[in-house]
Point group: C2
Chain length 415, copies 2
């Protein structure tokens, strides 16, 4: 229920966190029920609905094996005008061919009919095991039950229903103070496999009662994702099912114009909400014990900064060293050097928090205080900075450590 | 002592494995001693020397943070004419700046002086922890002792001295029957971090008593590495210290001319030796319980085949599924699809050994025999084939699974 539990994100002054969820903004209802898709009997099907038409923005995985619901949303629903979404966990409906497309379309049609909207305004998302057909004999009655269960207080149930291996709650709400009044943002996310960025499903649903034209909404969402979900999931290298949906239903009457000061203020609020969720996803990374903020400075270009950050964030040797509380900066520089293969000698400076471990690519002359270093490595959040000394570009990423529990979870989470 | 213990490599008919090591070819001597660099007291310094001048070929890491010995070899020793090498384990002499270069040069100079050759013909290599200065007060007497210990039977000691976390022996020898007579090849390798390809140090030393001109030797080594060491360590994405050295001292008198049939026969033998060593490195992958052969067929081009193979081989989700004996082909197709982001829908066929699990991107209509699948997933070597159905290019890679022991080893192997 807390969006800002990490030291790496603080809401701006005009943003107040409030107790809430995706149904906190005016005019949204939601539900989450157990349809029987998960063997555990936990909630596995949810609906989120705005009572009035919305402008909307979406981000879809570019994966060439994109799941059926992604294809259906991308190609068959309205762009910029989605009003509701139906989501199931327990089965990804990915690698399911023509039958999968039919099932996703059937979900859309049934959910839209139950709440009385045009199917073109109904989005669909799935997450779970890849390559298995959806059990429609459970999904269809589930959708009916979910539609009947929609309520103003159903945001938490919806958030629960989209989880798979998640352990932490990942939802909340904020009030945004704007020149024309106060708008509310609600949000929830699903995802806990970020130790292997890109291959865990990320689902994010954000609601607001502000009045925002669809093109502006899209621009804001893209910007917010760049500093949050795309900064924990590297290089567009995303799962088959990743889906981010932002809906604005105008119920507050607070209008945000492109180019105005309120657009900036709302963008900042949206960025903070997304970053808060993204950091929760990392903290909930399968088996994770730590979140590392990795600041790459001094890169020769933006692409290089992203590439080096990705190489380090994905290195199993780097991740296991953090798990072992070992300030093994050599593994960071080796990963960075591999990402810069063929380039002139890398002469990076490396800091763990304020402690300098390497300068000009070599261990610092003065050995760091071992007590302070031990203290840093024992913390749940560690900020690490590499200055490549090659130029003026920067990029920040967030990653978790690689642990015994990660292996246990993923060796046992089975088809 | 067995180069061909994997089902994925068989020596050609004209190649006979014999008991031996890098000192089995005529005119080579070696040693391995404990100089005190490893806290464990195990051997950590070795020398390998040909009694007569050699032609040679080398492959160096392209890492931008390449270690001092790599820089010294690459820039200050003779190209194509190396006659000996001195190697230490326990410290990588990487990220050690000017002092590191001086230490590497001092190793070369001292080792060359002890055996009476020009320092330009002496290579140097190091492996171990990055970012620490070499303890020259231990290295210098160590080199003297290693030089005094050189012997015809020292190949096994040399192989031991270059190991770090290796558990399996990785050395052997073959006789190669050629039109002019029989030549011998000896070889040893170090490396056991291939679960995180690219960040573990790979050291390989190959000796032969054949007569081979340096340009031909270089061509043969590059080809052999392409199907072996570069097929387990992805994309040139190598460690700070990777080094492969091939020396031919002509002592057998068996001459190999460029373009002749013997060049092809010798190339095949060298490729088999390198593949045998590479597969041992994968099998000895830190914590590994399995070796997976991954055949990517039907790619739209060679680069695409390599990219998809690399994405799957590096996926933590794929690796943990093999550890869990779970034929979770969805994770393979998700990784392949991420590597093909933005491309048309991926409609791959997937086989585990002869069993079809997916056809056209969808689970096979006929479910595979669960008993046979269980048997396959329980084996230590598994062959997996993905046909991308996009073109005519192929690439084969070998990778190991990701296990609890990997995490233990790398969280505890400390600076």
């Amino acid at each position: 229920m807390h969006l800002f539990s990490s030291k790496f994100v603080k809401p701006p002054d005009h943003v107040n966190e409030i107790t809430g969820s995706v149904t906190t903004p005016r005019g949204f209802r939601a539900s989450g029920i157990a349809a029987g898709l998960k063997k555990s009997g936990k909630p596995d099907l949810g609906m989120l609905v705005s009572e009035s038409p919305c402008t909307s923005a979406t981000l879809y995985t570019p994966n060439a094996a994109a799941a059926a619901p992604i294809r259906v949303c991308r190609e068959e629903t309205a762009a910029g005008a989605l009003q509701a979404v139906v989501v199931n966990s327990g089965s990804a409906n990915a690698c399911t061919g023509e039958r999968g497309l039919e099932d996703a379309r059937a979900m859309v049609k049934l959910a839209a009919a139950k709440i009385g909207i045009d199917p073109r305004f109904m989005a669909v998302a799935s997450t779970g095991v890849i390559g298995q057909k959806l059990p429609m004999e459970a999904v269809e009655p589930g959708i009916k039950f979910a539609a009947d269960s929609l309520s103003k207080s159903g945001g938490g149930d919806f958030a629960d229903a989209i989880h798979t291996t998640d352990k932490l709650d990942k939802d909340g709400a904020v009030e945004v103070n704007l020149s024309q009044g106060t708008a509310t943002i609600g949000a929830c996310a699903k995802g806990a496999g970020m130790i292997a960025p890109a291959l865990a499903t990320l689902l994010v649903f954000v609601t607001t009662d502000a009045v925002i034209p669809a093109p502006l909404l899209r621009k804001m969402l893209t910007a917010a994702a760049g500093g949050s979900f795309n900064a924990v999931s590297v290089d567009g290298d995303m799962s088959t099912n990743d889906f981010i949906l932002l809906m604005a239903n105008a119920e507050s009457g607070v209008a945000i114009e492109p180019g105005g000061g309120d657009a900036i203020l709302f963008s900042e609020a949206l960025a903070a909400v997304c970053k808060g969720l993204a950091l929760k996803i990392v903290a909930d990374g399968e088996g994770a014990t730590k979140v590392i903020e990795l600041n790459i400075n001094g890169a020769a270009g933006a692409e290089e900064a992203v590439r080096v950050a990705g190489a380090i964030s994905n290195s199993a040797l780097v991740k296991t060293a953090f798990y072992g509380r070992d300030a093994n900066w050599g593994r960071l520089i080796a990963a960075a050097g591999a990402a810069l293969a063929g380039q002139p000698e890398l002469l990076a400076d490396i800091h763990y928090e304020e402690v300098c471990l390497a300068r000009g690519g070599v261990a610092c002359e003065t050995a760091p205080d071992p007590e302070r270093l031990k203290e840093i490595m024992g913390k749940p959040e560690i900020s690490v900075t590499l200055d490549l000394r090659r130029g003026g570009s920067s990029h920040t990423m967030y990653f978790s450590d690689l642990t015994h529990d990660y292996v246990t979870l993923n060796a046992e989470y089975t088809t």
